[in-house]
C-alpha cells in the first residue's frame, strides 16, 4: 500500500513538474510568483473605449500577445459573457463593482498575485484592496479606473445650466431625455430621492427596502413619457445627441468626450445631489487560457503612461496617481478635470456601483435583491 501511495505521489510530482514549465507559471500558495512566456493571445471582455489601439498596439508589440476584445453594454452582460462557453472563452474582464462580487462568489474569477504588478504599490489606498475586488485577503484582480455617472446636456438647447438630477425627471424636456437601459439606473433614482425626499430614509442607493424601492420605481415610471430612448450602447447615446433626438440625459464621460470631439455642443457635470459611479477592476477568469499574457496586461495597464492615456480617452480617474502629471502633459488641466489623485473625501462622495443583495448589512434581510431590480426594470420599460 505504502509503495503504491509513494508511486502516486511521485507520479503527481512528475506531472506537476512537467506542467509547471509548460504553463510558465510556478506556484507556491496557488498564486503564480513569476510571469512566464506569453501565449501570443489575450481575450478580453471590456467596456467600450477600454481597449484603444493607442495602448493596445504597443502592448502587442512589446509582449507578442494579440488582444481580442469584446465590448459589453452592461455589467450583467459582462457576467454572462464570462460564464459563456464554460468560462474559458475569455481571459479577463474589466468588471465594475456591481459585477465583481458576483464573479468572485460565482467562482468565475481567480485570485491574482499583486506582487507581480509593480505599480500596484502606487495605487491610491482606497483602491489597493477595495471590498469589491478583495475578499478574505485575496485579491481577485487589479483596480483600474473609476469615475462618476454624469448629467449630459446640450448647451444650446438646455439653459440655464442644470444643477440637479431633477432635470431628467421634470417634464420640461419631455421627449428629449435619455438614460441608460440598465437596472442599476434604479440606484440613480434612489440617489436623487435620498436628497429630494429625505423622509424615505434612503442611506445607500443600492440597499433599498420595499418602500424605498417602490418610490424609486415610481419615479422612473413617471419619467417614462419623457424618455426618447433607453440607450443600450454608448454609441446609441452619441447618435441621439448628434441627431438632436435627445438634449439631456445620464451618461458616462466617454460619450461627452466623443461628442465634444465631434463638435456637438454638449457638456456634462455632477449635479448637487452627487452621482453614482463605477470603480473597475481587471479580473482574471478562473479558466483563463492565456494567464501569462493576462499578467503582462495587468502590468501594462497599471503603468502611469497607460493609466493616463486611458483616463483621458474615457474621461475617468486613474487608480495610479503617478499618472496625474502625465495626464497634464497629454492634455493641460486634465488631471484636475478628472480628479486625478483626488482626496479620499471626494472618492467617498461617489456612490459606487455594487450588486444589490437581500442582506443589506443592517442585520435585517429586507433589501431588494438584484433579480427584483432586473425584473422591475424590464417591466418598467414595458
Amino acid at each position: 500500500m505504502i509503495r503504491i501511495k509513494r508511486a502516486h505521489v511521485l507520479l503527481a510530482a512528475l506531472a506537476a513538474a512537467l506542467c509547471v514549465p509548460a504553463a510558465g507559471v510556478s506556484s507556491g500558495n496557488g498564486l503564480p510568483t513569476t510571469i512566464g512566456k506569453g501565449e501570443g493571445q489575450l481575450n478580453l471582455v471590456a467596456w467600450e473605449g477600454y481597449t484603444q489601439p493607442q495602448w493596445v498596439k504597443p502592448f502587442t508589440k512589446a509582449t507578442g500577445c494579440k488582444v481580442n476584445a469584446k465590448y459589453a453594454g452592461s455589467s450583467d452582460e459582462m457576467v454572462t459573457l464570462m460564464r459563456s462557453g464554460g468560462g474559458s472563452q475569455y481571459d479577463m474582464v474589466s468588471a465594475s463593482g456591481d459585477a465583481s462580487l458576483r464573479l468572485i462568489y460565482g467562482k468565475d474569477v481567480q485570485p491574482v498575485n499583486v506582487n507581480l504588478i509593480p505599480d500596484w504599490k502606487n495605487f491610491i489606498p482606497a483602491l489597493k484592496s477595495p471590498p469589491h475586488n478583495t475578499v478574505g485577503g485575496q485579491h481577485y484582480g487589479i483596480s483600474l479606473q473609476w469615475g462618476p455617472n454624469t448629467l449630459l446636456y446640450n448647451t444650446k438647447k438646455v439653459t440655464p445650466v442644470p444643477t440637479s438630477w431633477s432635470a431628467i425627471y421634470s417634464p420640461r424636456f419631455k421627449g428629449k431625455v435619455t438614460v441608460p437601459d440598465n437596472p442599476i439606473q434604479i440606484a440613480d433614482a434612489a440617489l436623487y430621492l435620498s436628497k429630494s425626499q429625505p423622509a424615505l430614509g434612503i442611506k445607500d442607493p443600492y440597499e433599498l427596502n420595499q418602500n424605498q424601492f417602490n418610490a424609486a420605481v415610481a419615479l422612473l415610471k413617471a419619467q417614462k413619457p419623457l424618455i426618447k430612448k433607453y440607450w443600450a450602447l454608448a454609441s446609441d447615446e452619441i447618435d441621439l445627441f448628434k441627431n438632436g433626438d435627445a438634449i439631456i440625459g445620464a451618461t458616462w464621460p466617454y460619450q461627452t468626450n466623443t461628442l465634444i470631439a465631434a463638435k456637438v455642443p454638449v457638456k456634462d457635470l455632477i449635479p448637487k445631489e452627487g452621482a453614482t459611479g463605477w470603480a473597475d477592476t481587471w479580473m482574471l477568469s478562473a479558466k483563463a487560457k492565456h494567464p501569462n499574457c493576462a499578467y503582462m496586461w495587468l502590468k501594462w495597464v497599471s503603468t502611469p503612461n497607460v493609466q493616463a492615456q486611458q483616463a483621458i480617452y474615457f474621461g475617468e480617474t486613474p487608480a495610479n496617481p503617478k499618472a496625474c502629471p502625465i495626464m497634464n502633459q497629454l492634455a493641460a488641466g486634465s488631471a484636475a478635470q478628472y480628479h486625478c489623485g483626488a482626496s479620499a473625501a471626494y472618492f467617498r462622495s461617489i456612490k459606487f456601483w455594487k450588486t444589490p443583495v437581500a442582506d443589506c448589512g443592517n442585520g435585517q434581510k429586507n433589501c431588494m435583491d438584484y433579480t427584483q431590480w432586473q425584473q422591475a426594470w424590464t417591466q418598467l420599460k414595458g
Binding site: S74, D76, E77, V79, T80, R83, R102, Y105, G106, G175, D181, K224, P225, I227, K228, K229, Y230, W231, A232, D236, D239, N243, G244, D245, T355, V357, A358, D369, Y370, T371, Q372, Q374, Q375, T378, Q379, L380, K381, G382
Partner: protein, 308 residues
Amino acid sequence: MSAINPELGAPDRPLRAARLRISGFFWRHRWAKAVLLLAPPLLAFGFVYLASLGALFISSFWTVDPFTTEIKHIWNIDNYRTIWDSGAYRSIALRTIGIAAAVTFTDALLAFPLGYFMARIASGRSRTFLFVAVLLPLWSSYLIRVYIWRLILNEDGVMNWTLGKVGLPHLHLAYTNWAVWIVFSYVWLPFMILPVFGALERVPHSLIEASRDLGAGGFQTFRRVVLPLALPGVIAGSIFTFSLTLGDYVTPLLAGGRPGTQFIGNVVYSSVGISNNVPFAAAFASIPLAVMAAYLLIARRLGAFEAM
C-alpha cells in the same frame, strides 16, 4: 492461371458482385432505401431541433439563484406565473403579436398589386427588372437596412427634412412603435411578394377568360376568381412575415427604444444575455412557439402549404 479470366477482368469481379448484391438488396427492400435516404436529415432534425426545443421547454421549469445567477434544478412553474401575473409581460406579448399581425397585413396590401403586376401584366424584361429590385435589398445586411431607417426617421432625419421643405409639421416617429412597424414592413416585404407572385402566376388565364365570358366585370372577376386562387399565396407569405416579426429583437432594439417598445425577443435577449436567467427566457419563448403552432394549423386549413 486458373484464377484469371481475361475477359471479365478478374480484380473487378468481387467488387462488382458486391455492388450488385447491394443494389439487389435495395431493389428487394424499398423501405431500406427510404431509411438510408432520410436518416441523416431526420436525425439532424430530431437531435438538433426537437431536442433543443425539448431542452428549452424543460429548462423553463427551473429557476436561477438571484446572486450568482446560476441555474438551480428545482421544478416549479414560477416563471409562467410571473409572466401571467405581470401586466408588463402580458402587454409585451400582446404588442409583439399585434405588430406582427399589422406588419403581415401591411405587407399583404403592398405585395398584392406588385405581385399581380409582375405575374400578369409585366413583360419579360420589366419582370426581370422587378424581380431584381425586390431581391436586391436581401443582398445587403439586415442591420444596414435597419440603421438606414434610423437615419430616415430620426429627429433631424430625411423624413423631417422633407416634411419641413414642403411646409408640413415634423413627425416624432423615431424610436416609437410606429418606427418598429415601418421598419419591419420594409425588411420583410420581399418574403411576401415572392409567394404572392407565385400564386398569381399559377392562376390559369382560361379561368379569367371564362369569368369574363360569363359576364363578370373586372372587379367581380378579381374578387371571385383571382383573389380566392391567390389567397393561399398570401397566407404562405404571411407565415414568413408573421413568424419573422414574432421572433425578431434587433429591429425593436435599434428602431425602437422608447418606453413600451420591447418585444418578446428583447425580454428573452435581456433575460439570457444580460441577467443570465435562461429558465425565464425559455418560459417567455414558449409564447411565440404556441402562437406559431396555432397559426400554422389555421394556415394549413386555408391551403397555404399547397402554395409554397
